[in-house]
Subunit: 137 residues, 4 copies
């Protein structure tokens, strides 16, 4: 492209985010957008638990956060991400209560493919999971 | 370990699967167990949709299936998987209606770490997503 | 594209493979091509060793094999792969002597992006490493 | 473990790095160690080229750098990494001349498994490849 995609503002991103029924169900909100990061917050609901003995969130929920945060980060920071091509997730600690925050950063904006990385932290700032996705533009 | 873990039968696996509130919410069932594969089925519910225009399931839901199918596959086929260490997912086609099937296979059973790969197919057998996870024993 | 890429034959693939100085240095050869798999063989040379106490090949060498075998597999089996977008590798056992074989299979042929998976085995057929790459067409 | 592993100094790391014949062949050197990063430098040699038309380094060489830089980063910064369990690599731009730098950072130090991420840059600071590995302690 000869000109970069326009950056989206916080209200546009929030509206776009809540088009997805799954994002509504999770109760997601975009809470911060800077020149370098996009931060989403996810509250808690009992249906997302995997191990009821420790009350930990399912890895698939954390994976969903890493997937979608990367996509919105790229669209928010001047790139174009229409769909996720592939993703890697590392699980570091059980997520045992909400809210959790997902902090996305751009690794590389490309024409065909962009890459973003996301960290998921609990309310105390401890790293729960992290990963990166490749997104087709 | 000096002796291999006992393989679990289908009823034990089903009971174990449904301990997780998130698996209950997704309506998961284990439908087949052979010497080489474990097959799970996921029906459909409207809350899992990502793009309402095409009615496609969220990538995070497919990622959850790849994560958990690999873990149950390892436990079903003689290995030990307590938690997911990390995971890769490739998204091939939008999943636009259910039920979908997740077919897990063992790549390597190890003492510390085992690896399994999973394919997700629609009712017509078309490949929707695939990936692999590494699981700590 | 309106028509599929022509499949390449074994001699064309061998010629293409050896254009790369690094492939020549490794001494790679394509030893088999079927409708489903492409098999490469790598002999041994002392410079590829990582741990001299056990004489194991460097993980980067096994990663190189997984990367390039997937790319040639896609081009050999009707797809188009110009470059690797990203890759995952799992290391299962030290590779302590050659030759090793890399067996590639197509996961998905796509217009923009194709995915292939590769297993690396020693002369006795034991799995040393495995992984998958996403390739841009 | 009841006490953290002692951090290694630059000379110890350099000596350890050059035990591997493959690292010697690549001409690797550790050029910087801070509280947060380990930086390696790789000069250039013609045998690492993949595409002779543009003189680009083979993806497997960049993957080797990401693999080994993460391992040394963990050992340098208080963790323990004996071997790579698995790795993801994203290729962003062709590496067309040396030297290149690999900058490693810790994502998470764990008892069983640690994760590090590495960026590879050319002499002008442009990002060529990036990725992360999981290492068994």
């Amino acid at each position: 492209m000869s000109e970069p995609a326009a950056k989206m503002d916080l209200e546009q991103l929030r509206a776009m985010l809540l088009i997805a029924p799954f994002h509504q169900w999770l109760g997601l909100d975009i809470v911060e957008l800077t020149d370098e990061t996009l931060i989403l917050e996810m509250p808690w609901r009992e249906e997302i638990v995997s191990n009821p003995m420790i009350g930990s969130a399912h890895g698939g929920i954390l994976s969903a956060l890493i997937d979608l945060t990367g996509l919105y980060t790229i669209n928010a920071l001047g790139g174009s991400a229409r769909a996720t091509a592939d993703m890697r997730v590392d699980f570091h600690r059980p997520a045992t209560s909400g809210p959790v925050r997902a902090i996305g950063r751009v690794v590389k904006l490309g024409k065909q493919l962009s890459v973003a990385e996301t960290r998921i932290e609990d309310a105390g700032g401890r790293l729960l999971a992290s990963g990166r996705g490749a997104y087709v533009g």
